[in-house]
Symmetry: C2
Subunit: 262 residues, 2 copies
């Protein structure tokens, strides 16, 4: 093993509480200059806010080390669909797309890509219909989804996330979305490209048996599951076999030493 992808929520912290030993574990890899990225599907906060959150938990890093769907999207769009992008993402997330040209918010055509994030309560019929009409223009823009999370749990109850709106537009247009975010293989591949790392020598440590472990394994990385965050004992009863199961990230160092040579 030569490189590490750290899932954040549930591995480094649970809510606003640091996982015991997380800062020491990350610091150990940093001191050894092990190539690494922090990988999260969060699209509601810009990277600077995540850097601040990590700092409060004793983990020092920079925005460039945090790999999110918008970061992957910007790289992918610049290569694959150059041109103006229509952004359906929270205002705070738009800063991550600063290096691309944003389509005028009144424009009815001319998008090279339509990018969907978790807009939450900002979704309206008019907003969704605008995305639809842009996608129906010729030439057809790319439909890019910042992850495919179906819903999340808020203090007020369940709330729809990005995936249902992607499905709505796929149904209406007949297009298939390009998904960038865990567990999409393209997302892991983009992270490896940034690290210049080989999948066979890279591990991902995460708390989601499907989104993290299975996603990583499908991209040919090693997938390590922690028993923190959203882990449940039943996760190990299914057909997915993690490459390692640790009580927490505090145990990653011995696992790494046992699986690294030279």
């Amino acid at each position: 093993m030569r490189a590490v992808l750290f899932d954040m929520d549930g591995v480094l912290y649970e809510g606003d509480r640091a996982v015991c030993g997380a800062a020491e574990a990350v610091s150990w890899f940093q001191r050894r200059h092990v190539p690494h990225l922090f990988v999260t599907n969060t699209t509601s906060k810009p990277r600077e806010a995540l850097v601040g959150k990590l700092a409060r938990m004793g983990i020092d890093t920079q925005a460039e080390r945090i790999f999110t769907p918008p970061v992957a999207a910007v790289r992918w769009l610049a290569e694959t669909a150059p041109g103006p992008v229509a952004l359906f993402v929270p205002e705070a997330t738009k800063v991550e797309f600063a290096e691309l040209t944003e389509l005028d918010s009144e424009a009815k055509s001319g998008a090279a890509a339509v990018v969907l994030g978790d807009l939450g309560r900002q979704w309206s019929f008019e907003t969704l219909n605008r995305a639809f009409c842009l996608l129906m223009c010729e030439p057809s823009p790319v439909l890019l989804a910042l992850g495919m999370t179906r819903y999340w749990r808020t203090p007020d109850g369940l709330q729809l996330d990005v995936a249902p709106f992607v499905s709505a537009l796929e149904c209406a247009t007949g297009a298939k979305a390009q998904v960038l975010g865990k567990p999409a293989t393209a997302f892991f591949e983009a992270a490896l490209q940034l690290l210049d790392a080989d999948p066979a020598e890279t591990l991902l440590i995460g708390d989601d048996i499907v989104g993290d472990v299975q996603g990583a394994q499908r991209a040919n990385l090693a997938g390590i599951l922690v028993r923190t965050g959203k882990f449940r004992a039943s996760d190990l009863a299914g057909s997915i076999r993690p490459d390692g199961v640790l009580d927490s990230i505090a145990e990653l160092r011995p696992w790494w030493e046992a699986h690294s040579h030279g």
Copy 2:
């Protein structure tokens, strides 16, 4: 042949203009007491409004003869999912559900069924999220779709119809919607049940090669295509073979006479 289902828009009229010969054709079947229904996916207008539109075109009928997704839904729900229904349909359509108990609009649980129609600009995030939360309650309510039209053309451009919102909820909940509306077989079967007619002795005349002709044929009815309404020559280049192709409904009488015995 012993019974007829008349598609309305594109067969009897195009927009607000009657198709030439339509009133005479319908009247000929009515005088012979041929069992018949007018079948449409329209959910934005109550049946009384459609009766009025037909009357202005010289076609006399009653609301009981007009078979729409709400009519099919009410019959299906009373049999299959008795209990309070959560209606996501335009206000004007609610009258069609009068014989069912509507769930209180503030209730967060307790629906036996969640019924989706074309809410158009009345869709908001809160509205869609409420449908989602109701569907996630135990026991799971039925998700019932009043048709699966993807979009329609307005004077202002394309507009999302009901299907994308059904897809969004299917994606979010993992449920599969029961569709009542053309081309769903269950919809044609419900119409035949109301007529007490046998599919092999019933024809549907329509202008949509997929929604009308293929849908009817899959339910074992004869599917007759007219060259009015949304008909395009390319409709006949595909794999669907109508049981008859007529210039308009004015030619239905000779076709019927050639295909009826006794």
